[in-house]
């Protein structure tokens, strides 16, 4: 479903701030793969997701989604393949627009937009039903402005928007990192549910190693722009946080895993 071949990206090339963010990354996701991505700060996790989403073109290499070469397509052109949830709950929704209007925008992801009415007559009922499945009481607030919702509610709504029209690939960029622990747990549960229900091919960055092990069918660890560990199946299920920390120390040449990873 997703194939990265030798993808590289360097920021600030030729300056003192040069940063090799991705170095010849090869990655292949089968349909239905749910891959969790871990790694320290600056390991290249977000760059990987942004390169796939088309926030910037890669310096070299090929990115294919569902067989199509998207390497040079812009962000909005790739949107037809992708569902995305950002770390910042404010980035995924339009605050001054109503809940149903946001969903209607998401329903038309990657489609041509014309002069027909922005929300079809039958759509509201469908939205109410989908919102009810979130179990946040949003189904009764279809015409509320999204700006009135809490961060957790907005993130759950963004998740619904990203998956309302089934994406070829779901990109989750630390989408629970800005939420309180209880809300984060709820949003993660919803994520697991929807990925399972629609058998979505998913790439999820997380800083929580327990979540990375518990969720998904495959786990990759990144370090300095490389994928240094790729594990799935039985081996992944048997993983412990301790194993990941050892792996990380090994990769970083004995340096202790950074604090943010230790804390999780």
């Amino acid at each position: 479903m997703l194939r990265l071949t030798n993808v590289s990206k360097t920021f600030n090339k030729g300056t003192v701030n040069e940063k090799l963010a991705l170095v010849g990354v090869d990655l292949h996701l089968e349909p239905g793969d749910f891959v969790t991505v871990i790694g320290g700060n600056g390991a290249g996790k977000s760059t990987l997701l942004n390169a796939i989403a088309g926030v910037f073109p890669p310096d070299s290499g090929v990115i294919q989604i569902d067989g199509a070469d998207v390497s040079l397509l812009s962000e909005h052109q790739r949107a037809r393949y992708l569902g995305r949830v950002f770390q910042d709950p404010m980035r995924g929704t339009a605050a001054d627009m109503q809940i149903d209007e946001n969903l209607a925008l998401a329903r038309r992801r990657g489609e041509g937009r014309g002069l027909s009415w922005g929300i079809g007559k039958a759509e509201r009922a469908e939205y109410a039903e989908r919102l009810a499945s979130l179990d946040l009481g949003l189904e009764d607030r279809l015409s509320s402005k999204v700006g009135l919702l809490s961060g957790g509610q907005r993130q759950a709504l963004t998740l619904l928007m990203a998956t309302l029209k089934k994406p070829k690939l779901l990109l989750l960029d630390e989408h629970t990192a800005a939420l309180d622990p209880k809300t984060a747990k709820k949003v993660l549960e919803l994520t697991a549910q929807v990925v399972e229900r629609d058998s979505l091919t998913t790439l999820m960055i997380t800083h929580n190693m327990n979540d990375a092990i518990r969720l998904g069918s495959r786990l990759i660890m990144m370090h300095e722009g490389h994928v240094i560990y790729d594990v799935s199946g039985e081996e992944k299920r048997a993983l412990k946080v301790h194993d990941l920390l050892l792996k990380f120390e090994e990769a970083s040449g004995g340096e202790l895993a950074n604090d943010r990873m230790l804390l999780s």
Partner: protein, 305 residues
């Protein structure tokens, strides 16, 4: 006095068309588009030349004025979206360029519409109404049609995408909306309305002048904020989109009424721009200060009320 007031009302409605245009960029996209000073005069100049030099039908002249505004908006839009020039600067560049363009269009700094038909003389001849009344009728019909059309447009898929663009560009890109296109549409639409308004004003005052658009943006912003304040004071707090558009036009009428009254009271017409700036500044400052005061007043050391 009464005739000055009715004149102010009809002028306010015709300028209200420009305010509707400004509403698109200022309220929907959150861009203060300085093109409008230039595109307002452009609409007027083109309409004047079209009927005086080319002898075209007044209705066609007005449509040409509107189209010229659309083109001006596209220029600002291309500078902003394709070449990433900040919106304010892109607007200033187009505005300055339009000064020369407008002089070229007219060949001089002023074009009187003597002995040519305007839509207003047409309506007068048709209905027997006087000039001021026919200006009011035309203005009301045009403004009502535009409010209805805009209400429809911003409810469509493209219109929703446009509103979303002003809210959250990251989200738009993630949902497959090309924000360059939506911004271009908004700027073209906005300046088209501004050009239309300039053309209408030109025909109602029976001349086009190179300076007729100077300060238009401040007048427009003043009208929008006056309209918002009036909307908030109205019972039921008019927040629906249709009423926000309507209050923008009403704001324009109120602005020109205030203007007529202070001029009658002996204010120098040259001081009007200063007064406009003060109205806008006050309208922007007062809510901030009131909110700050409210927060301080509601503070209590021990939590007692």
């Amino acid at each position: 006095m009464l005739s000055a007031l009715t004149g102010a009302v009809s002028q306010g409605i015709l300028w209200g068309v420009m305010v509707l245009g400004l509403f698109v960029t200022y309220k929907m996209l959150d861009i203060a588009d300085l093109t409008v000073d230039g595109s307002f005069a452009l609409g007027g100049c083109v309409a004047a030349v079209a009927s005086v030099s080319l002898g075209l039908d007044p209705l066609v002249a007005i449509l040409l004025g509107m189209l010229a505004g659309v083109v001006a908006g596209l220029v600002t839009g291309l500078l902003h979206t394709v070449f990433d020039i900040p919106a304010i600067l892109a607007g200033i560049l187009t505005q300055i360029a339009l000064w020369s363009v407008n002089l070229r269009v007219m060949g001089k700094s002023n074009t009187p519409l003597l002995n040519v038909d305007t839509v207003f003389t047409r309506i007068s001849a048709l209905t027997g109404l006087n000039q001021a009344a026919s200006a009011m009728v035309v203005g009301l019909v045009v403004a009502a049609a535009l409010v209805a059309a805009m209400y429809w447009f911003f409810g469509t898929e493209i219109g929703s995408a446009l509103r979303a663009t002003g809210n959250n560009e990251d989200m738009c890109r993630a949902l497959g909306i090309d924000v360059r296109v939506t911004k271009l549409i908004a700027l073209a639409l906005s300046n088209g309305l501004v050009g239309l308004s300039g053309a209408l004003i030109c025909q109602s005052q029976k001349y086009a002048d190179i300076g007729m658009g100077t300060g238009a943006i401040v007048i427009g912003l003043a009208a929008i904020v006056i309209g918002e304040v009036l909307g908030r004071l109205t019972p039921g707090k008019l927040q629906a989109f249709g009423s926000r558009l309507t209050s923008a036009v009403v704001g324009s009428v109120v602005y020109f009424l205030i203007r007529a009254i202070v001029l009658q009271m002996g204010l120098d017409a040259n001081d009007m721009k200063l007064l406009s700036a003060v109205i806008v500044a006050l309208a922007l400052v007062v809510p901030t200060v009131v909110e700050r005061q409210r927060q301080r007043r509601s503070y209590s050391k021990g939590g007692e009320r």
